[in-house]
C-alpha cells in the first residue's frame, strides 16, 4: 500500500496524485473526512477484533479518518474519536 505511493519521505505530496488512481483498501489510504464502509477486520488477534466490535467498528459500519500524524491515525466511529496506530489502521479494510 505504502510503496505504491513512491518514496515515503514525499508521501504527503505524492499521495494526492496517488489517491485518484488507487482505491484505498484499508484506513492508511483513506482520504480525510470521507466516510468509508468497513469491509472487515483483518487480524490474527481475535481479541482485538472483538474489542473493535464493541466500539462499533466492524464490517458494514461507517468510519472516518480525521487526520494522520506519523504513525497515528485519528478515526471517528459512532460518535467517538480514537487514535490508532498504523498496524491497526492497516487491519481495518475499507
Amino acid at each position: 500500500m505504502e510503496n505504491t505511493c513512491g518514496n515515503r519521505w514525499f508521501r504527503r505530496r505524492e499521495r494526492k496524485g496517488c489517491r485518484e488512481v488507487a482505491v484505498p483498501k484499508d484506513l492508511t489510504g483513506a482520504k480525510f473526512n470521507e466516510s468509508y464502509e468497513i469491509q472487515g477486520i483483518e487480524t490474527e488477534n481475535q481479541a482485538m477484533a472483538d474489542f473493535l466490535f464493541t466500539l462499533g467498528c466492524y464490517e458494514g459500519q461507517r468510519v472516518h479518518v480525521l487526520s494522520a500524524l506519523g504513525d497515528n491515525y485519528v478515526i471517528h466511529i459512532k460518535g467517538a474519536r480514537y487514535s490508532i496506530d498504523r498496524a491497526l489502521a492497516r487491519a481495518i479494510r475499507i
Partner: protein, 664 residues
C-alpha cells in the same frame, strides 16, 4: 439499597459518584482512570427517604464481554452481586456506541436508570436528544444530568429510588452467550447495533456532523505530533516539576517552616525544665523535629498534585500515550504504559494499579515493575533536601531526577524484554481521545487538598511512630542504658544499621545513620528525611530567613560528612531502589506471580545499587582524579546483579532455541 454505576470509559461515572457521595475519588479526563470498584453512601440530602443508599462506582466498560481486566470487574459485579438498581451513565455525544452497552445492561433484569450526561451538549447546542422518546424505547427512565456541575443529581437519585423493586424488561434480546453458538452471538450483537442505530436515528437530531475536523484537531497536530509531541511533553513535565520544587513550592514551604519552628519553641517553653530531658528530647527532636522536617515540604507536594490534577483534567494524558506509543513499542512496552508512569509521579500505588488497562500480560507486568522508578510525592522531600543541601541549583537537580527516571525505565524495559522475550504477537494501539477542556481550578483544588490531607495524616501516624522509634533506638544501647556523650556508635540503631552500612561503602555513604534512613525509607519514603533529621539532630531543613531552601546548607552538608558526589549517589539510591512496602504490595497484587515479585524487587535493588555506585565512583574519579573507597568490593555486588541478568537472558535464549529445534 445498593446502586451500581456503570457505563463506557470516560463517561463521567466517578465524577457523578463523587458528586452524589461527597467522596473525593480520583477523576481524570481520559478513559481508564477507575480500575477498581469504589463504594460510598449517597449524601443524605439527596436521599428521598431516611434509608441509606450505597453506591458502587465501577470501572468503565464498552460491553459485557471484557477486553481488559478492569472491564471484567464491571461485568462480574452487575451479574453476580446483583445490585438493586443500576445507574447507567451515557455520554450524550456518543449515543450510538454507548447504548450498545445500555441494551446489554437492560437484559440482566435489574431495574436501570439511564443518566444522560449532557456535558458537551450545552456548548455544542447543535444536537438534541428526545429523552422522553428514548425512555419509551428503552423501557427505563432517562434522567439528564451534568456530572461536572452536579445538575440533576437529586432527580437521578429519586428516580433510582422509585424503580427499586420493579423488574426490567429488555428492549432488545440477544441470544444467551452461555448457550448459543459463537456465530449466533455475533449475529445477535450485530442486530443489537442495528437496533441502537435505528433508535439513535429516532431520538437524536444533529445539525452538524461531529466527524468534521475541529480546533481540537489543530491542537492535536502539535501536541500529539510524532516528533514535536516529545519536546512539548518534556516542557510540560519540566514546568510541573520546577514550579512545584523551585518556583512556587519553596517560598510557601519557607513560611510554613516558620510556623513549625514557632510550635517547636512553644512546646519547648511549655515543658520548661520540669520534664525529664529524655522525654522532652523524644517529643521535641524525635517527634516534632522528625515530622516537622517532612511537613515542611507539604507545599511542594501540594503544588505538584495541583498541577498534575490540572494536567489530568485537560485531556492531555491520552495524547501523551499516543505520542509515546511508537517509542515505547520499540522497548517492548505500549503507549498506555506512560499513563501509570505519570500517575506515579504523584504516588506509585495508583500508578501500579493503573497498569490494569494494559491488556498484554508481559507489558502490564513490566510496566508495574518499572513505574515505581518514577519519583513519587513522598520522594519529593528527599529530592528537595539533597538538591538544596548539596547543589546550589536545586531546580536542575530535581528535574534531572525525573528525566533520569525515564532513562532508567527505558533501560529497564529493554533488559526485561531480553529476559522475558517479546510475547506480544500483534501489538496494536488504540486509545479513545477525550475532548480537551479547560481544566477546572476547583477540581484541582479539591484533589490537592485531599492529597495534602492524606500526606499530613501519614506524617502524623506512620512517620511519627517511625521517627519516635528511631529516636528511642538511637538514645539507648542494647542494655537500655542511655548512650553516652560521643558514644553514638553504641546505640541500638547503630548496631542494627552498621552491618548494612558496610555494603554501602562502595557507594560513598557507608555511615550507619544514612543506612538507617535508607532502611526506614521502605516503610515510607518520607522517612528518609525524617530519620536524617532525627539522627543528625537537624530540625530545620528549610530556612525561615531567606528564600533559600535549606538553612545553612554548608552546615547540614558538614554534619552528614558527605561529598557532593556521595550525596548525589545517596539520593539516586533512595529513588531507584524498591519503593515503599505499600507500593511493593500493589506490585504483588498486579503481578499475581511470586517469580515476578522476587525478580522485580531484586531488579530494583540491583538497579539502585548500580546507579549509585556508578555515580559515586565515576563522579569521584572525575572530581578528584581517583576512585572512591570500596571500588573493587562494589564491583562484586554489581557483578552478581549483571551476572544474574545475563544468566536469565541466556536461559531464555536457550529455551527459544529448543523450541525452534523442536519445530524443525
Amino acid at each position: 439499597m445498593q446502586i451500581a454505576l456503570a457505563g463506557n470509559p470516560n463517561s463521567g461515572k466517578t465524577t457523578l459518584f463523587n458528586g452524589i457521595t461527597g467522596k473525593i475519588e480520583h477523576v481524570g479526563n481520559w478513559p481508564g482512570v477507575t480500575v477498581a470498584r469504589k463504594e460510598g453512601r449517597v449524601k443524605s440530602h439527596l436521599c428521598p427517604t431516611r434509608e441509606t443508599i450505597q453506591v458502587v462506582d465501577l470501572p468503565g466498560a464498552y460491553s459485557m464481554s471484557p477486553y481488559t481486566s478492569e472491564e471484567s470487574i464491571t461485568r462480574d459485579f452487575v451479574k453476580e452481586e446483583a445490585p438493586d438498581v443500576i445507574i447507567n451513565i451515557v455520554d450524550a455525544t456518543s449515543l450510538s456506541r454507548s447504548l450498545f452497552f445500555t441494551s446489554q445492561l437492560l437484559e440482566i433484569g435489574i431495574p436501570t436508570v439511564v443518566a444522560l450526561n449532557k456535558r458537551d451538549l450545552k456548548h455544542k447546542k447543535e444536537m438534541t436528544v428526545d429523552t422522553g422518546l428514548l425512555s419509551d424505547r428503552l423501557g427505563c427512565p432517562v434522567v439528564e444530568v451534568a456530572a461536572i456541575s452536579g445538575e440533576g443529581f437529586a432527580d437521578l437519585v429519586k428516580t433510582a429510588h422509585e424503580v427499586l423493586g420493579r423488574g426490567q424488561k429488555a428492549p432488545f434480546e440477544g441470544p444467551d452467550p452461555a448457550t448459543a453458538s459463537e456465530e449466533a452471538v455475533k449475529a445477535g450483537d450485530k442486530a443489537r447495533f442495528d437496533f441502537v442505530q435505528q433508535l439513535v436515528a429516532e431520538v437524536e437530531t444533529r445539525k452538524t456532523e461531529s466527524q468534521k475536523q475541529t480546533r481540537q484537531d489543530a491542537l492535536d497536530r502539535v501536541v500529539a505530533h510524532k516528533i514535536l509531541g516529545i519536546p512539548v511533553f518534556a516542557l510540560i513535565l519540566y514546568g510541573v516539576f520546577s514550579l512545584s520544587q523551585s518556583t512556587i513550592g519553596p517560598p510557601i514551604a519557607d513560611y510554613l517552616v516558620g510556623w513549625i519552628d514557632a510550635f517547636y519553641g512553644y512546646v519547648e517553653g511549655l515543658m520548661g525544665t520540669g520534664i525529664h530531658p529524655l522525654l522532652s528530647a523524644l517529643l521535641l527532636d524525635g517527634i516534632i523535629g522528625g515530622v516537622g522536617a517532612i511537613v515542611g515540604f507539604l507545599p511542594l507536594i501540594m503544588v505538584l498534585f495541583f498541577l498534575l490534577a490540572l494536567l489530568e483534567d485537560s485531556g492531555y494524558m491520552a495524547r501523551v500515550a499516543v505520542v509515546m506509543d511508537p517509542y515505547l513499542k520499540k522497548v517492548g512496552l505500549s503507549g498506555r504504559s506512560i499513563i501509570p508512569m505519570v500517575i506515579s509521579t504523584g504516588c506509585a500505588i495508583p500508578g501500579v494499579m493503573a497498569t490494569r488497562t494494559i491488556r498484554d500480560e508481559r507489558q502490564r507486568r513490566t510496566t508495574a515493575l518499572l513505574t515505581p522508578f518514577m519519583p513519587c510525592g513522598a520522594k519529593l522531600p528527599v529530592i528537595a533536601l539533597f538538591a538544596g543541601v548539596f547543589f546550589a541549583d536545586a531546580a536542575w537537580v530535581g528535574t534531572s531526577m525525573y528525566f533520569l527516571a525515564i532513562g532508567v525505565v527505558i533501560l529497564g524495559a529493554l533488559v526485561i524484554r531480553k529476559i522475558t522475550g517479546d510475547t506480544s504477537k500483534s501489538n496494536y494501539f488504540i486509545m479513545e481521545l477525550p475532548e480537551y477542556r479547560l481544566p477546572s481550578l476547583k477540581r484541582a483544588y479539591v484533589a490537592m487538598m485531599s492529597q495534602g490531607r492524606a500526606f499530613v495524616a501519614k506524617a502524623m501516624t506512620i512517620i511519627l511512630i517511625s521517627n519516635a522509634l528511631v529516636h528511642v533506638m538511637q538514645t539507648f544501647t542494647w542494655r537500655f542504658q542511655v548512650v553516652g556523650e560521643g558514644m553514638t556508635d553504641a546505640s541500638i540503631l547503630a548496631g542494627l544499621a552498621g552491618p548494612i552500612s558496610w555494603i554501602m561503602i562502595p557507594l560513598g555513604f557507608g555511615i550507619w545513620q544514612l543506612a538507617a534512613a535508607a532502611v526506614t525509607g521502605f516503610i515510607a519514603k518520607e522517612n528518609v528525611v525524617g530519620t536524617l533529621a532525627v539522627v543528625f539532630g537537624i530540625t530545620n531543613f528549610i530556612d525561615t530567613e531567606e528564600l533559600v531552601l535549606i538553612s545553612g546548607s554548608e552546615s547540614v552538608a558538614g554534619i552528614m560528612g558527605l561529598t557532593s558526589m556521595a550525596a548525589l549517589a545517596y539520593l539516586v539510591f533512595n529513588l531507584f531502589t524498591p519503593p515503599c512496602f505499600a507500593a511493593i504490595g500493589a506490585m504483588n497484587a498486579e503481578f499475581e506471580s511470586r517469580a515476578w515479585l522476587l525478580g522485580a524487587v531484586g531488579f530494583q535493588l540491583g538497579m539502585g545499587y548500580t546507579l549509585a555506585y556508578l555515580i559515586y565512583q565515576v563522579g569521584t574519579l572525575v572530581t578528584t582524579g581517583s576512585f572512591g573507597a570500596g571500588v573493587v568490593g562494589g564491583l562484586a555486588g554489581i557483578g552478581l546483579f549483571v551476572g544474574t541478568i545475563y544468566y536469565l537472558i541466556r536461559k531464555r535464549e536457550r529455551e527459544d532455541l529448543e523450541v525452534l529445534e523442536g519445530v524443525a
